[in-house]
């Protein structure tokens, strides 16, 4: 049997296992586990299951350090998606997953199938998908190649989500040069499931049948996991196009409905979607989880093309397929449901007691592998982590930590800097993207992520779920642990500002080649930072995905990207707090205090890095206290609005709250040196809130109970944002030093809105 066709084969002298991406050590490990040599089909199955993508062989030991326990957690890491109870017999199910390399090779299909895949993970748990979020990362938007990727990926995300009728309610769009050839497409799906309808992904019941339903199996996506996702790649990667799966959202929609009907009527004993490594993965993981075996009859698998070799059938990543374990007496009903939804379905095997995945072709046994050897007992590769050499020397003893003389702000007009930040493609309006996504289908969307967190009500209850996703790749280049913790804190803050409580976190870890000690160190540090932040803020990690080898010879390694997604619960939708200024006359307050450090900020990108600057620090205890204040204030109906200070700093947060509310504000802000720290610094733990004028002291009193700083900045009203600067960093002081710094920000809403709205179309060359 030839596993790799002759014309695609690398030099013939390469041994088969190497051509499949297995190392010599792994071949030895296979033979040791089997006690015999593996045949070619078995090697192909091991190669996909032991790929980085499926086995997490480099990351598994690290992920074990994350906090996963929670009283309300019904399913955690290792399941197809995390599940957390929300009361009234309901649970929320969510996960984020990458589809980076397929999107680099074929942006539309790569992104579309990324969405399709994450939808199926949630459906496989028995949950109805209710929301999608997409975190996208690209290179410089002025680059033609990057623009092509942006257009294709955005169309692909919309093409799938819009068609299946699951609203795309949020996400992230970040441009950083390191993503030029290796964009990141991280898709998150959130679903709702009745607790007692939670589907199991384990095979059980000897003699039960394995039913494969959904699209027929073809040659698309052969080796997607092992070829595309588990190696770095280059500009010739378009040759890998046959490894990219092709999505059919219509079939995906039918698959969702049929699956939910099967689960809802309790017709299936176990369910798993076919994603990476196709039938091999579904069969071995289901058997392994259930401690049973599965015997698969290959000739029974519905195919869309003739002459497929057994290994092609076993590792094909054709989309929109599910494997269900069915009791024989329910088979008739299962097939009838599939027929009604127009989905091919076939009994392809049965559950056995021997613990093996056995592949049979027309009665002849052609492979027999212990399920654990393929799945949970896949080897772990010890990797070496080594921090990069420090680029800057630590400050000498006795020298102040931040000694620089406000270098970038010499001659700065803070209003002009604000304009530049609002017009920055990483900060300006995301409407160019979100207009292409259906965010209102389902009639549950209370807020789409165009502003901050996305909020969905739950029909028939007072509850709402709140979702956000964040990452800090620019900062991660300087300090990956800090950046991961910052991403967690920011994401949780985005949930907390609405008044909601985070239920759990899902993560997508996008890193470089784990064989490189520096890249591996970035991963190790990020996991450490993420775990610390989750423990300190008090919510579990419920699952996620790891994507390694995100690098290319031409464009280097991506900025380490720990993308986190949090789902929170708001007990009473009436208490929802929005981010926009709400009423003239309301008091504007800042909760939390600014800290020094501009490194890694959007301001630093514009103004240049001061040689001795560093990133801001993160105080997780203060962060948690802030979130507590926000929830208590929301519960007491104190807040008219609350908006997190993040990218672009306080000035941008104020401008956004003004633009979204269509209301200006008259404010006064004490600034030290350099003034940019207060105005544009991105230190965490700060939120701009508005409160009815007569009640602002109540908020400050509440904040004081938790030790959170609370300062009144001024009043909502008018059609301009005016921020007068006072203190050492303002004009008087600065002029004495000859810096000539302007003493206020004064911008009309209209001007700010125009700059903000045009940011993205302009950067992408699509401005009207």
């Amino acid at each position: 049997m030839s596993v790799v066709s002759a014309d695609a084969a690398p030099p013939a002298e390469q041994a088969l296992h190497r051509r499949l991406g297995l190392t010599d050590d792994e071949l030895d490990a296979i033979h040791e586990r089997l006690g015999r040599t593996a045949n070619d089909l078995e090697l192909a199955m091991f190669s996909v299951m032991w790929s980085e993508h499926c086995s997490y062989k480099s990351s598994r030991p690290l992920l074990g350090s994350l906090p996963t326990d929670g009283a309300d957690v019904l399913a955690g890491p290792g399941e197809q998606a995390g599940v957390v109870k929300i009361g009234d017999g309901l649970a929320v199910c969510f996960k984020i997953e990458s589809h980076n390399h397929p999107s680099a090779v074929e942006p539309y299909q790569g992104a579309a199938t990324g969405v399709g895949g994450i939808l199926r993970d949630v459906v496989a748990m028995g949950a109805r998908p209710v929301a999608l979020l997409d975190a996208l990362k690209f290179g410089d938007p002025h680059d033609d190649g990057v623009r092509r990727l942006v257009r294709g990926v955005v169309r692909g995300v919309g093409g799938y989500g819009n068609c299946v009728g699951v609203p795309t309610v949020g996400g992230e769009l970040t441009f950083h040069p390191s993503y030029r050839l290796n964009p990141l497409v991280n898709a998150m799906c959130v679903g709702i499931v009745e607790q007692d309808r939670l589907a199991r992904s384990a095979a059980s019941g000897i003699g039960n049948l394995a039913v494969l339903y959904g699209s027929a199996t073809g040659r698309d996506g052969i080796g997607g996991a092992s070829v595309l996702a588990s190696a770095s790649f280059d500009e010739r990667s378009s040759q890998m196009r046959p490894s990219v799966q092709i999505g059919d959202p219509f079939a995906g929609k039918l698959l969702i409905e049929a699956s939910l009907e099967l689960v809802g009527r309790q017709l299936v004993e176990g369910l798993q979607d076919l994603g990476a490594a196709g039938l091999t993965c579904a069969a071995s993981e289901m058997a392994d989880r259930g401690g049973v075996g599965l015997r698969i009859e290959l000739s029974a698998v519905p195919r869309r093309e003739e002459g497929m070799a057994p290994f092609e059938v076993m590792i094909s990543e054709s989309q929109e397929r599910m494997l269900a374990i069915v009791r024989p007496e329910r088979l008739h009903e299962v097939l009838e449901v599939c027929r009604r939804w127009g989905l091919p379905a076939a009994v392809v095997g049965e559950v056995t007691g021997d613990g093996d995945v056995t592949i049979v072709d027309q009665g002849r046994e052609i492979a027999r592998l212990p399920a654990p050897a393929l799945a949970s007992e896949a080897p772990v590769i010890p990797r070496r982590a080594e921090p990069p050499a420090r680029k800057r020397a630590a400050p000498a003893p006795g020298v102040p930590e931040l000694a620089h003389d406000g270098l970038p702000e010499r001659g700065m007009d803070p209003g002009a800097v604000l304009d530049a930040l609002l017009g920055h493609p990483n900060i300006g309006s995301r409407r160019w993207v979100t207009d292409q996504y259906d965010s209102t289908v389902g009639s549950d969307t209370l807020a789409d992520g165009g502003q901050a967190a996305a909020v969905l009500r739950i029909k028939g209850s007072r509850q709402a779920i709140v979702m956000a996703t964040d990452s800090r790749p620019g900062l991660a280049l300087l300090d990956p642990a800090l950046a991961a913790a910052m991403a967690v804190a920011e994401c949780a803050r985005n949930v907390a500002v609405t008044g909601a409580r985070p239920l759990g976190l899902t993560n997508c870890l996008n890193f470089g080649d784990p064989g490189d000690p520096h890249a591996y160190w970035q991963l190790v540090e990020s996991v450490r930072g993420m775990g610390e932040a989750c423990r300190a803020l008090g919510f579990p990690v419920t699952g996620g995905n790891v994507s390694l080898y995100n690098e290319s010879d031409q464009a280097g390694r991506i900025a380490p990207t720990a993308q986190v997604g949090i789902v929170g619960l708001l007990d009473d939708v009436e208490l929802l707090v929005g981010p926009a200024f709400a009423r003239p006359g309301d008091a504007v307050l800042l909760l939390g205090e600014p800290g020094p450090g501009l490194a890694g900020s959007a301001y630093e990108q514009l103004a240049g890095a001061a040689p001795d600057d560093r990133p801001p620090t993160l105080d997780l205890v203060a962060e948690r206290a802030l979130h507590d204040v926000l929830r208590r204030a929301a519960g007491a109906r104190l807040l008219r609005s609350a908006h997190d200070v993040s990218s672009g700093g306080l000035a941008v947060a104020l401008a956004e709250a003004a633009i979204w509310g269509g209301l200006g504000a008259e404010l006064s802000l004490p600034v030290g040196l350099p003034p940019a720290v207060v105005l544009f610094g991105e230190s965490p733990g700060r939120v701009v809130v508005t409160v009815e004028a007569a009640r602002w002291r109540d908020l400050c009193a509440l904040a004081a109970e938790h030790g959170v700083a609370c300062r009144r900045l001024g009043t909502v009203g008018g059609d301009r944002l005016r921020v007068r600067l006072a203190g050492d960093g303002a004009t008087g002081a600065a002029e004495e030093r000859g810096a000539g710094v302007a003493d206020e920000v004064d911008r009309s809403l209209e001007d700010m809105r125009r700059v903000w709205q045009q940011a993205l179309p302009r950067a992408l060359g699509e401005a009207a």
Binding site: N162, C163, F250, R340, Y437, D438, S439, V441
Partner: protein, 228 residues
């Protein structure tokens, strides 16, 4: 008073339409496209979505669904039919409404909240709505550019069959004459690109769509009074 919401494979606003019809005071149920009867429904909604994946052409396959015969009979008897978004596309493909919905002028899927202006009052769908009333609803479509040849367009206008237009600044797909909703000559079959069923509660950003849906429910009930 019963509203039937037709479900084609690929419909995705069916549950939204069901929810909104119930809020409008109707009993409502889903009708599978393979049915050949309407299960006693007094009025029908063809919901949005991608019936049969919109493969071939939007609505082109759905019009051959078994339920379409009963739907046609219902319409001929004067029964109310409201096609929303993909449902509008199906009604034009089925010849129950004139014109066609072409690819948006932007060549992109367009989603967003728009202002819709009532252009004709007194139809079963605009019973309590004065001409010029503005309704805030979402649009969500890739093929929503209403088109028909000039001569037919003039006829449509002169017969006063345009019941909804995009307000200035809201025509994002390039529809002729800003048309977003029309009725047939008898006035009992209506096609509409925006989504009234998603503007069903103030919580969601608008409940303006309920004015239209309540009008339909009241008209089908034959009187202003509908049991909630």
């Amino acid at each position: 008073m019963r509203v039937g919401v037709v479900v084609f494979p690929g419909s995705n606003c069916d549950r939204d339409a069901l929810h909104a019809a119930r809020l409008a005071g109707a009993e409502a149920e889903l009708l599978w496209h393979e049915q050949t009867d309407l299960g006693g429904a007094d009025a029908l909604i063809l919901p949005g979505g991608f019936a049969h994946g919109d493969y071939l052409r939007t609505g082109a396959i759905a019009r051959f669904s078994p339920i379409m015969g009963a739907l046609r009979d219902h319409a001929e008897r004067g029964g109310l039919v409201l096609g929303i978004c993909n449902g509008f596309q199906v009604l034009t493909e089925a010849g129950l409404l004139p014109g066609a919905l072409l690819r948006n002028a932007s060549l992109r899927f367009e989603h967003g909240w728009v202002q819709v202006e009532v252009a004709r009052e007194g139809t079963p769908f605009t019973r309590n709505l004065a001409v010029g009333t503005r309704l805030r609803m979402p649009i969500a479509h890739g093929e929503g550019r209403y088109y028909l040849p000039q001569e037919q367009l003039e006829q449509l206008e002169s017969h006063d069959r345009v019941c909804f237009r995009y307000a200035p600044g809201s025509n994002r797909n390039g529809s002729l004459n800003d048309i977003c909703g029309i009725v047939n000559d008898a006035g009992n079959v209506c096609g509409l690109m925006p989504h009234p069923e998603r503007a069903s509660e103030a919580l969601l950003g608008s409940d303006d769509g309920m004015l239209l849906l309540r009008s339909m429910v009241e008209s089908a009930a034959g009187s202003g009074a509908v049991a909630a």
